[in-house]
C-alpha cells in the first residue's frame, strides 16, 4: 500500500468535490436526527460511486468475495472487459448461440486443505460449476477441467480428486469433456489448483437474475448455512478446534429443477459460496435497488456451526456454503416454493428467512433474535476470528 498520507489526502479531495455537488438531504420521520440522516444520505451516495482499487498489491481480502473483491472486479475487470453479457455479473453469462440460449460460467478452486470432511477439491470443482449454471436457470451439461499441479504432488491424491469429480459429475448428470494439465514448481499451487468452465442450456422462458427482485417477494434459504466454511476453517488445523461438521458441497441442479417445475414465480437464485448468505442478500439489494429484510430467528444454522462461530467471533451469515442457495420468489408463491424445496433431500431444511421491501433501498436489514434491528453489510474480506 502506498504512503498512507497520499491516499488519504486524495480520498478527502475526491469526497470534498462530490460534497460540493450535493444538496442537503431531508429528514425522515422517526428516531434519527436531521444531521445524522444527512450523514447517512451522504454515505449512501458515496457507496454508489464508481469503485477504485486503492491498494498497490493484491491482498487476501481481494479473494474473499466481499467488498474488496467486488471493487476489484468492477474497477479492474469490468473496467477493461465491459460488455452487455458481462456487466450483469451474474453467476453465469447468458449467451444466444444458434438460436438457443446457452449459459457459460467459469470458476477456480484453490481450497486448502484439499481433502476435508464431506469432500475434496474435486467435489467442489464439479458441484460449484454445476451450481453456477443451475442457479442461472440452465441445465448443466458439459464441464472443462484445467489442473495446475505442484511438483511433488502425490499421484494417488490426484487420482482421488479425479475420482471424486467423476462421481460428482455422474450425480449431477454432467460430463467433463475437455481439460488441461500444467505443472508448476514445488512451493506453488498448494498441491493442486483446478479451474473449470461450465456450459448449460436454458430451455425455458424464465429470466432469473437478482435485479428482478421486487417488494413483496419472499427470500428463502435452502438449508442450514455456514457448514462448508466452518468445516474448512477447522480442517486447516490451525485453530485446534474439533467438531462433527462436514462440508455441505452438493450439486443443486436437481433441487432447482424441482423448484422451477413447481412454480414460475422464482425471480432469482444464487448459490451461497464465499461471502455467505449475507453477500447474496446484499447483491440482491444492490442489483434490484430494494431493501431486504431478514429475521435472524428464521435463518437455519446448525448448533455446531453456531458454536464455532461464537467461539471465533464470526457471523455465520458471512461463512461460505457450497451446497446452499438463496431463492427470491414472488411472495404469493413462497409456500409452494418452500414445499418444493422441502420435498427434495437437499432442501429438507429450507426456510423462508425474510422478504424484499421497497425501503431502505440497497440495504439489508436484520431483525435480531433479541428484537432489535441492524443492517447487514458486505464484509471487506474474509470474516476474521476476533478476540475483542
Amino acid at each position: 500500500m502506498s504512503d498512507q498520507g497520499t491516499w488519504v489526502d486524495q480520498a478527502l479531495r475526491e469526497h470534498e468535490e462530490h460534497a460540493q455537488e450535493e444538496h442537503a438531504g431531508s429528514a425522515r420521520p422517526g428516531g434519527t436526527s436531521d444531521r445524522e440522516q444527512q450523514v447517512l444520505d451522504r454515505i449512501d451516495r458515496a457507496r454508489r460511486r464508481r469503485p477504485k482499487v486503492r491498494e498497490e498489491r493484491i491482498t487476501m481480502s481481494h479473494g474473499a468475495g466481499g467488498k474488496a473483491t467486488r471493487t476489484l472486479v468492477e474497477a479492474v475487470f469490468l473496467d477493461a472487459f465491459s460488455n452487455a453479457l458481462l456487466d450483469p455479473l451474474e453467476d453465469a453469462a447468458q449467451l444466444h448461440l444458434n438460436g438457443g440460449r446457452v449459459a457459460l460460467t467459469t470458476d477456480s478452486y484453490v481450497v486448502s486443505p484439499l481433502f476435508f470432511p464431506g469432500g475434496d477439491i474435486g467435489d467442489l470443482a464439479v458441484n460449484g460449476t454445476v451450481n453456477d449454471l443451475a442457479v442461472s436457470g440452465a441445465t448443466p451439461l458439459y464441464l472443462s477441467a484445467g489442473f495446475i499441479l505442484e511438483e511433488g504432488f502425490p499421484v494417488t491424491q490426484l487420482q482421488e480428486i479425479v475420482a471424486s469429480m467423476q462421481a460428482a459429475a455422474q450425480v449431477a448428470g454432467v460430463q467433463v469433456v475437455t481439460g488441461d494439465t500444467k505443472v508448476v514448481q514445488r512451493g506453488k499451487a498448494d498441491g493442486c489448483y483446478i479451474n473449470t468452465a461450465g456450459v448449460g442450456v436454458v430451455e425455458h422462458d424464465m429470466s432469473l437474475g437478482v435485479a428482478n427482485a421486487r417488494p413483496g417477494d419472499a427470500v428463502i434459504v435452502s438449508g442450514p448455512i455456514g457448514d462448508h466454511g466452518v468445516t474448512i476453517m477447522l480442517a486447516r488445523g490451525e485453530l485446534d478446534i474439533e467438531a462433527d461438521i462436514t462440508s455441505d458441497t452438493a450439486a443443486l441442479n436437481g433441487l432447482i429443477a424441482d423448484l422451477l417445475a413447481a412454480t414460475s414465480g422464482v425471480r432469482a437464485l444464487r448459490d451461497a459460496t464465499r461471502g455467505g448468505v449475507a453477500t447474496i442478500l446484499n447483491e440482491v439489494a444492490t442489483a434490484a435497488d430494494v431493501g431486504v429484510l431478514v429475521n435472524e430467528d428464521a435463518i437455519p444454522v446448525r448448533t455446531v456451526v453456531r458454536g464455532a462461530s461464537e467461539l471465533l467471533g464470526i457471523d455465520p451469515m458471512y461463512v461460505a456454503c457450497e451446497g446452499r442457495m438463496v431463492v427470491v420468489v414472488d411472495g404469493g408463491e413462497a409456500d409452494k416454493a418452500l414445499a418444493a424445496l422441502r420435498s427434495h433431500p437437499l432442501g429438507a431444511d429450507a426456510a423462508i428467512i425474510g422478504q424484499i421491501t421497497a425501503d431502505p433501498k440497497g440495504m439489508v436489514l436484520l431483525n435480531t433474535a433479541f428484537g432489535g434491528s441492524r443492517i447487514v453489510d458486505l464484509l471487506v474480506g474474509d470474516p476474521l476470528p476476533r478476540i475483542c
Binding site: 448448533t303 455446531v304 458454536g307 464455532a308
Partner: protein
C-alpha cells in the same frame, strides 16, 4: 478484549493438569485452565473461555438467580400488560 464464551469442561488431558477439553455447542477445543489453579473446574462445570484460556468458572447458581430475576421482571411485565389490556375492555 471481550470475546469470552461459556464452555463445558469435558475432561482433563492425561499428564497435563493445566489442559482441559471443553465443549461449546458440540465444538471441542483444548484450553489452558491454569488461571483457575486454586479452584480447578471439574468435568461438567462451565468456564468462560478467552483466547484459549479459562478466565473464570461460571457460577451456575448466580446464572440461575440472574435468570430468575429476568423472568420475574418479564412475568410482572406480562401481567401488567394483560391488566392494561383487560382494563381497556369495558
Amino acid at each position: 478484549m471481550c470475546l469470552g464464551i461459556p464452555g463445558e469442561v469435558i475432561e482433563f488431558l492425561p499428564d497435563q493438569p493445566d489442559l482441559a477439553r471443553v465443549d461449546v455447542s458440540g465444538v471441542r477445543r483444548v484450553i489452558n485452565v491454569g488461571l483457575l489453579d486454586d479452584d480447578p473446574p471439574k468435568p461438567g462445570e462451565w468456564v468462560l473461555i478467552h483466547v484459549g484460556f479459562a478466565l473464570s468458572k461460571i457460577d451456575e447458581a448466580e446464572a440461575a438467580a440472574a435468570l430468575q430475576f429476568l423472568e420475574g421482571i418479564g412475568q410482572a411485565y406480562a401481567d401488567e400488560l394483560e391488566a392494561l389490556q383487560g382494563s381497556q375492555i369495558e
